[in-house]
């Protein structure tokens, strides 16, 4: 790629996933908690979207909704939609990047219902669109780990202690790359013979005990081993990409024999193994030492550049999000209060909550002494009345803030949900001026 064309600004890139009116409710003894309460945002191709907020504001639940991982119970209802537009390898450059695919190596896959003409299922975009909240389990499984991947907060908990690293990472290839496994094992994936049927089942981990017995007998044994060897080779390559030294040795290790940073590298290797369109990183460095954090973030960035993957980066660490995210969405009490370009949001926050958050970052320029904090606590989300969720802690709040829901509305290249910026039809509008006098 010597003649890299001028890259389009990421904010105008096509949308990979759009979340609309996402609501997730949990049933607790005290009542129904509206953990996520009408969240809207888009994730654009190749960008990093930072999702920030305090503990319990619903950012992890939002992220988990992408892969339908919200546990039911205690979750009782997930509504709204998460429209996902899976992308395919660009046929003209075979993933290398060309002018047709905008140097991403991938193109939008055509809507099967209207062959690209634009219809209701694809919202007139002509691109294949899947609602992740309603897609059948079988199709969802084909998306999980393949088109959308996820990295968890604590790699120590996200790896099965009873399986070696090699076997765990191999799962993802068995689940999504069985044809490639067969091909590199010298077996024709299209062949219909009974032998190949069993081998094919093996390569997608669908073979059961009787089949496995047959596979362990001499005639098929060497081929079975060839499939395992092919998987091992793919695993080694994936681990190698995340700069794990001596991957073949690591593959025989169990998770408890690796350091936290290494474990997270393994998770990243597995997540990016199938070259997904969207990676959800749920506080991927929170459980790691500070010194390791920086290297993991670098690694994610580097791999994101290489794979052109969109990343939803969830964190409560604002200074981190400011560094890694192209755009940032600030969540508070189950809602998004402000979303826009990271630079803009961090330099010139418009929502009082965002302002409070940014002021609360302890910086080198601050004097020693008390740390800045937002007064008050996060409200309970059990059957809330219509109101700005932040009104109880907001220094500028007026009557209208306590009785009406502010909507997320655009102001100069971003969206803010606050009556200060788009005054209500009636009542006294809050202004920043009041306490700034």
């Amino acid at each position: 790629m010597t003649t890299a064309p001028i890259e389009a600004p990421k904010t105008t890139a096509p949308v990979v996933a759009s979340v609309r009116d996402l609501r997730v409710h949990f049933k607790t003894k005290a009542g129904i908690v509206q953990a996520v309460d009408g969240v809207d945002f888009d994730v654009r191709d190749g960008e990093t979207l930072g999702l920030v907020g305090e503990t319990g504001c619903g950012k992890s639940v939002t992220a988990r909704s992408f892969l339908r991982l919200v546990p039911m119970p205690p979750g009782i209802a997930v509504s709204g939609s998460i429209m996902f537009r899976p992308r395919m390898r660009c046929s003209s450059c075979d993933g290398a990047g060309c002018s047709i695919c905008g140097n991403t190596g991938r193109v939008v896959s055509i809507c099967p219902a209207c062959s690209g003409a634009g219809c209701d299922t694809c919202e007139q975009t002509g691109a294949e669109t899947v609602d992740l909240l309603t897609v059948p389990e079988r199709e969802l499984r084909a998306i999980r780990g393949n088109r959308i991947a996820m990295i968890f907060q604590d790699p120590g908990k996200a790896l099965n202690p009873a399986l070696t690293i090699g076997k765990q990472v191999a799962e993802v290839f068995y689940a999504h790359r069985s044809d490639e496994l067969l091909t590199s094992a010298g077996i024709d994936p299209a062949s219909e013979s009974l032998q190949n049927y069993v081998l094919r089942r093996r390569a997608s981990q669908e073979s059961r005990t009787p089949e496995n017995l047959v596979l362990s007998l001499p005639p098929l044994r060497t081929r079975r081993n060839a499939i395992s060897a092919a998987a091992d080779a793919m695993v080694a390559a994936a681990l190698n990409e995340t700069q794990i030294p001596n991957p073949r040795a690591v593959m025989d290790r169990y998770p408890h024999e690796l350091s936290g940073g290494m474990k997270q590298r393994v998770m990243i290797a597995q997540a990016l193994a199938c070259d997904p369109d969207l990676l959800i990183a749920d506080e991927p460095t929170t459980a790691l030492d500070v010194t390791v954090q920086a290297r993991i973030i670098e690694l994610i960035n580097e791999l994101q550049e290489r794979h052109k993957t969109a990343v939803v980066y969830i964190s409560h660490d604002l200074s981190l999000v400011r560094k890694v995210a192209d755009r940032t969405a600030v969540m508070y009490a189950g809602r998004i209060v402000e979303v826009g370009e990271s630079d803009q949001i961090f330099h010139d926050p418009e929502h009082p909550y965002t302002r409070g958050l940014i002021d609360a970052i302890p910086g080198a320029s601050h004097e020693r002494g008390r740390l800045a904090a937002i007064e008050g606590t996060v409200p309970e989300l059990i059957d809330p009345e219509p109101s700005c969720r932040f009104s109880g802690r907001c220094a500028y709040a007026e009557q209208v803030c306590r009785s009406e829901d502010p909507q997320l509305e655009p102001i100069d290249h971003r969206q803010v949900a606050c009556f200060i910026h788009h005054p209500p039809d009636h009542g006294v509008a809050p202004t920043f001026a009041r306490t700034e006098q």
Partner: protein, 308 residues
């Protein structure tokens, strides 16, 4: 073995080293279990008993036509231990105590292995289904389990065996019917706990099927308490089985410890202690040894669990 480098993916090499790692780990585990002297003592007794059971035909000549029946020597009734031809004496009906003790080990081994295999298989299957599926499936299965658990196990087994008629096969059946619920309970609790782990979510996220998640993530991480319980039950089942045959639910004259104790009990007041004492001692040793081993395994595999 030389380290396999990433550049030469040999088919056998990677597998072989994984196998070596596994063997090393098993060896470490065994060493840990046996580091405890009481566990070691238990294991020694078990090895002796099982060896005796397996080698019974070579230690004492099998009775014909039916080797599991004690031979009757009507010419030597109730002779004391040390008599010629009857090392441990005979019963009131001329049954050879040594034969009963040694072939009784074979009967006990058969009983405990069959019952533990059936109960573990059924219990793990039912418990896993209930714990993994949850919801209504769980509700229905666990109510059935509750019904089984509400009846004291000995009385329940007794009732079933009595209804089915006196035979050793029915004792096996009765014990299998009674004991599986324990495993279902343990397994369900384990699965419900394990399936909340993040690695189960992580497996779901890469697109694994439910079956593969169960087989690779849930089952291996929840089986430990079942292994411990199964070891303990290898002892308990023989104890309960001996109780049932003592009461008379096995065929008369069967080479089984409970039957032998029962045959000898009438002689105790007359000073003929041997016919009951030796088989009784065997039952005691058998149960004790498996309990010691079970506790030892639990200490190593599952250090967090308190002794139940």
């Amino acid at each position: 073995m030389s380290a396999t480098s990433a550049s030469q993916p040999a088919v056998g090499a990677a597998n072989e080293s994984a196998l070596r790692v596994r063997i090393r780990r098993m060896r470490e585990l065994a060493a840990n279990v046996l580091a405890n002297p009481t566990t070691l003592a238990g294991l020694v007794v078990i090895v002796g008993m099982v060896g005796m059971a397996l080698l019974a035909p070579w230690i004492v000549e099998p009775n014909s036509p039916n080797a599991s029946q004690m031979p009757r020597d009507w010419g030597a009734i109730a002779v004391p231990p040390g008599s010629p031809g009857h090392l441990l004496g005979t019963t009131n009906t001329g049954g050879d105590v040594l034969y009963g003790v040694i072939w009784g080990a074979r009967t006990s081994l058969r009983l405990s292995l069959i019952v533990v295999t059936i109960t573990v298989a059924v219990g793990v299957a039912v418990g896993s289904l209930a714990g993994f599926r949850g919801g209504r499936v769980d509700e229905v299965l666990m109510r059935i389990v509750d019904v089984f658990l509400s009846i004291p196990e000995l009385i329940f087994a007794l009732a079933i065996a009595a209804v089915l008629g006196p035979s050793f096969r029915n004792i096996i059946l009765a014990l299998a019917i009674v004991f599986w619920v324990k495993y279902a309970r343990i397994m369900r609790a384990q699965v419900m706990h394990v399936k909340q782990n993040e690695y189960v979510d992580a497996a779901r996220v890469i697109g694994d099927s439910n079956w593969n998640i169960y087989r690779r993530d849930v089952l291996p991480n929840s089986i430990t308490p079942v292994v411990v319980q199964a070891t303990l039950d290898m002892g308990n089942i023989v104890l309960v089985g001996a109780t049932l045959s003592f009461i008379g639910l096995a065929e008369a004259g069967l080479a089984e410890w409970g039957v032998l104790v029962s045959e000898g009990q009438s002689g105790i007041s007359g000073g003929r202690w041997w016919a009951s004492t030796f088989p009784g001692l065997m039952v005691f040793l058998w149960a004790l040894a498996f309990n010691l081993l079970g506790d030892g395994i639990r200490d190593v595999l599952d250090p967090k669990t308190e002794t139940r």
